[in-house]
């Protein structure tokens, strides 16, 4: 049997790697991929706790997280395409219209 702490540590490492990518990378597409990594870390935590309690609600939550991630990816990539069309770049440093 694998202790639950190992799963939680793996999820924490995955979440922090995703967070690192979101904060450090400049390519908007890679930033989206790192958001997906963070969502997967959350799913892993849900499933580990579902296993710990022998309860199926964590599985339902993971299902909903995946569905919302699909919606987020569709909208986010559409926005990336729209920005690329108007700015010619997907570098998040170049996009500062809403900054001021």
């Amino acid at each position: 049997m694998v202790p639950i702490t190992y799963y939680l540590l793996l999820a924490a490492a995955l979440f922090c790697m995703g967070m690192f990518g979101v904060l450090v990378r400049t390519n908007a597409l890679v930033v989206f991929m790192c958001v997906e990594l963070m969502l997967n870390a959350v799913n892993l935590t849900f499933l580990a706790f579902a296993r710990m309690h022998g309860d199926g609600i964590g599985h339902v939550s993971a299902f909903f997280v995946i569905a919302v991630a699909a919606a987020e990816a569709a909208i986010g990539l559409a926005i990336v395409i729209a920005v690329f069309r108007s700015r010619g770049s997907v570098n998040v440093d170049d996009i500062r219209t809403m900054k001021h």
Partner: protein, 168 residues
Amino acid sequence: MNTELVLFGVFAVMTLVSAGLVITARSPINSAMSLVSTFFFLAGIYVLLWAHTVAIIQVLVYAGAIMVLFLFVIMLLNLGDAPHRGRPTVTRILGGASAFGLLAVLAVTLGRTNAMPADLSLPEQATFGTIAAVGQSIFTAWLLPFEAVSLLLLVAMVGAVVVAKSRI
């Protein structure tokens, strides 16, 4: 060393290596392919957690549909490799440091806690994590959220078309 621990170790190491490649790859295509392999290894870990349904959905929806969408957009934009790494601004350095700080805090907390039971050998219901059990739960107790998610996906689909199309 039992088989489950060995399998977990292999999957965990491969997941972390693939996730590291997602962050460090120069070209977005390489990032996307590493992300696909991350999803596959995570699906293996989900199977170890008796979450077969979520593992199947992970492979079908994440590694299939969402990553096809990502690759399609990357190909459409036709981006080359990153010509320059962005300058390490103060914000970026602080961001990276805070990610490492969060990891340290989480690791210390998880290492210290005694609340977690050491072994998971609960009496295993035969139906735990199967499609029948998860579907039963979704279509009875969670029916309204399920319908809300279907509406959300419809709105996202229409919204993506509206945003990405130059002229309606």
